[in-house]
């Protein structure tokens, strides 16, 4: 069995999971919600196996490196981390419906990787031949994934808060959403997972740059953008403890933060130039 077949199965699982979650929103039936989660976790397990398989395939053809070295592999890994963080949050706080706004991000990643990106296993160029690659990429992507989950939650917040303006609780589809107070809190908790990971990601990146090039910080566009993302979430954290900044403004900051995260991840490679040619549109 090849990893690429399993990645296709993963994509289908996430697609099915997303559709079931939408049905859950419409039907408000708990069993349907459970089925949505199960489809997502099934996809996650298959994806985990596929990533391990791809790792072994890379050894089999003599390149021998972790599957984190090009755009295809990083998008697949990103999608894996999103489902992982979603799972952790669902497990801990039991708000299944968040899946309807998070699994689409994972699906988008997988669909793009499988349909639009070159999936070849390539050898590592000298700059990437280091264990730091592993620490750096894993911490960064786990952080990004937590921000993706926070963004999904914030979108739910903004939809619900927008409809609830006249202090009457929103009905219809929105009755499935947790209350806006809980969404605000979940948003904060997701960012509390993401912020330390992003911090570690930036620190490991700096350590690696120092080890490989002799400067821990060179204001290269990718570095700068990761710092921009970090500033935005730091502002978010302080906004929460300032009166007048909780709720809607915090949710908007969280969405902006995730937009900046995506620009840091993809936009920098597509539109700007720098040392991180890795992940570029090759």
């Amino acid at each position: 069995m090849s990893s690429s077949l399993l990645f296709n199965v993963t994509t289908i699982c996430y697609m099915v999971s997303m559709l079931i979650f939408f049905a859950f929103l419409a039907s408000k039936n708990k069993t349907v919600g459970l089925a949505g989660s199960l489809a997502a976790y099934g996809g996650f397990i298959i994806q985990t196996i596929a990533i391990i398989l791809r790792w072994r395939e890379s050894y089999a053809i003599g390149h021998g490196h972790a599957p984190l070295s090009n755009l295809y592999e990083s998008v697949v890994f990103f999608s894996w981390t999103i489902v992982l963080i979603y799972g952790l949050i669902e497990f801990k706080y039991k708000y299944r419906i968040v899946g309807a706004f998070v699994i689409p991000f994972a699906l988008l990643g997988m669909a793009w990787a499988q349909l639009g990106l070159n999936s070849g296993i390539e050898p590592l160029v000298p700059a990437l031949q280091s264990n730091w690659l592993l620490y750096h990429v894993i911490t960064c992507f786990l952080g990004y994934a937590a921000f993706a989950v926070a963004c999904g939650i914030s979108i739910m917040y903004l939809i619900k808060a927008g409809k609830e303006s006249d202090s009457a609780p929103a009905g219809g589809l929105l009755s499935m959403f947790p209350s806006i107070r809980i969404l605000d809190d979940l948003n904060y908790r997701a960012i509390m997972i993401g912020f330390p990971l992003l911090t570690l990601g930036i620190v490991t990146g700096a350590a690696w740059a120092n080890y490989a090039w002799g400067t821990y910080w060179s204001w290269d566009p990718k570095e700068t953008w990761s710092l921009i993302v970090w500033f935005i979430y730091a502002a978010f954290l302080h906004a929460r403890i300032t009166r007048g900044w909780v709720g809607k403004r915090a949710a908007i900051l969280s969405v902006i933060g995730f937009a900046a995260t995506i620009f840091c991840y993809l936009g920098v490679n597509l539109f700007l130039s720098g040392l991180h040619s890795y992940g570029g549109g090759r």
Binding site: P126, W132, P196, G214, Y216, W219, I228, F231
Partner: protein
């Protein structure tokens, strides 16, 4: 000082203690940082200048956009951030320290009202007897209690993780430590570049600001080599370096392999593999030549920049050569040389020969058939050289930051008070984080308290 003056000082102080200022600064830094990722940093290249108008160039230059992360206004934002950080900490730290060092040991009626979690249980028995059971209960179920006796009532106080309240201040301190490390690095360190030809050595390097820096020792490049994957992508750039003190190799620093991601450090100065190239001198190229009409191939050696004579008259000269021809002629791979052959009395003919396509030159139709065998080309290795005595301060700051964030986010200062009076035991509690989670734990404690 007049009252007016004190008013001004007070409002300046309040301004710097404000969290709104921090949010403004953080977002301001985020937004302005974007400029430097769009406008190329460093001396602007002529190609870039052609894409912008003269007026734009003047504005950009005046605002320092070509070196924006060192421009006065960006540094000003960083200074303001630092002042804001210090002012906020000075204002709040004493209060937090007081919570840690002088906890409220006694829960009186007034304090009880201020707590959101309280519960009272009726129990029979003398307070003096209940006291020991309450102490044992707290010790077992929560944390070691402290006892205070007031008017015949017994007050217990127990807490967990008081020091996590300092987490936020550890994070803020770490930012200042990182700044200090960066400043030490920029004052006492340098970044430079050295190009060393194979067999050669350097004892001074040129810093980025163009200064010549004496290393105090010499670095010799014994050999440089580069290898490629089958795809043509580079696999490894490898320099073999030796450190020389007074011309003699230093034990332990002889023939050290330096590749990307594996630098060499000697006396606090680190050498990183960064680039390479042909020295353009001293290269020796090898060919074989045979006549079309038959006969054994003859080996031929040609030096860079010199003409060699061919068997049967005429001369050969190497115009250029490469280790990997793919970048010039994508349909071929491997080493190649462009040579110029001048037959006796004829005009010079330039053409390309390849090492990996030995039959290729037969098709040219010349009397002599050439095959390229490769070169003993001399390379130079390009090394980044860096000395940064501040780097350990930066790592210390980074470690503190991670520890501080973990303390601030994942630990909660939990406090429990128990008051034992005649006929009733009252418990109150509070947590610095995750009040909802603490409430569950508090309710469990209440259940257990009922059966003491």
């Amino acid at each position: 000082m007049t009252t007016d003056n004190r008013g001004v000082v007070q409002s300046v102080w309040d301004f710097f203690c404000s969290l709104k200022l921090s949010i403004f600064l953080l977002i301001g830094l985020a937004v302005t940082s974007i400029i430097g990722t769009i406008i190329p940093q460093g001396p602007p290249a002529p190609e870039y200048l052609q894409t912008i108008s003269q007026a734009k160039f003047k504005i950009y230059a005046a605002l320092g956009f070509f070196d924006m992360y060192h421009s006065w206004w960006f540094l000003l934002l960083l200074y303001l951030l630092t002042i804001n950080l210090i002012a906020c900490s000075i204002k709040r730290l004493p209060r937090v320290w007081k919570i840690i060092s002088e906890p409220t040991l006694v829960m009186d009626e007034g304090f009880e009202k201020s707590l959101s979690l309280t519960h009272e249980v009726k129990v029979g028995g003398e307070p003096a007897a209940l006291k020991d059971r309450a102490a044992a209960f707290l010790r077992k179920e929560f944390a070691e209690p402290r006892l205070t006796e007031v008017d015949g009532e017994y007050h217990f106080f127990a807490e967990k993780n008081p020091y996590c309240r300092l987490g936020v201040y550890v994070v803020h301190l770490s930012i200042i430590i990182i700044f200090i490390g960066a400043i030490i690095g920029s004052l006492a360190g340098y970044k430079g570049y050295a190009a060393i030809p194979e067999g050669g050595s350097v004892s001074t390097i040129e810093s980025r600001s163009g200064k010549q820096i004496d290393l105090g020792f010499a670095v010799k490049c014994e050999k440089f080599s580069v290898s490629f994957y089958d795809t043509g992508a580079p696999k490894e750039f490898r320099s073999i370096l030796t450190v020389l003190e007074n011309g003699k190799p230093v034990p332990g620093y002889e023939n050290v392999k330096v590749i990307v991601n594996q630098p060499l450090t000697y006396k606090g100065i680190t050498f990183y593999q960064s680039s390479y190239g042909p020295t353009g001198e001293g290269g020796v190229f090898h060919f074989t030549v045979r006549e079309r009409k038959g006969g054994a191939p003859v080996p031929l050696t040609v030096r860079q920049g010199e003409r060699a004579s061919l068997p049967g008259g005429g001369t050969i000269q190497v115009l250029e050569a490469t280790q990997e021809v793919r970048s010039v002629l994508p349909q071929f791979s491997g080493p190649a040389a462009r040579i110029e052959v001048t037959p006796p009395g004829g005009s010079p003919q330039p053409f390309v020969v390849f090492r990996d396509y030995p039959k290729f030159d037969e098709e040219r139709g010349g009397n002599l058939i050439f095959t390229y065998e490769g070169a003993d080309e001399k390379y130079y290795t390009g090394l980044q050289v860096a000395k940064d005595p501040g780097v350990w301060v930066v790592w210390l700051g980074c470690a503190l930051m991670v520890v501080g964030i973990l303390l601030a986010f994942f630990l909660s200062h939990k406090r429990i008070w128990v008051r034992v009076a005649r006929g009733r035991v009252t418990m109150g509690g509070t947590a610095s984080k995750n009040q909802a989670g603490f409430q569950l734990a508090f309710d469990e404690l209440v259940d257990k308290l009922k059966s003491i």
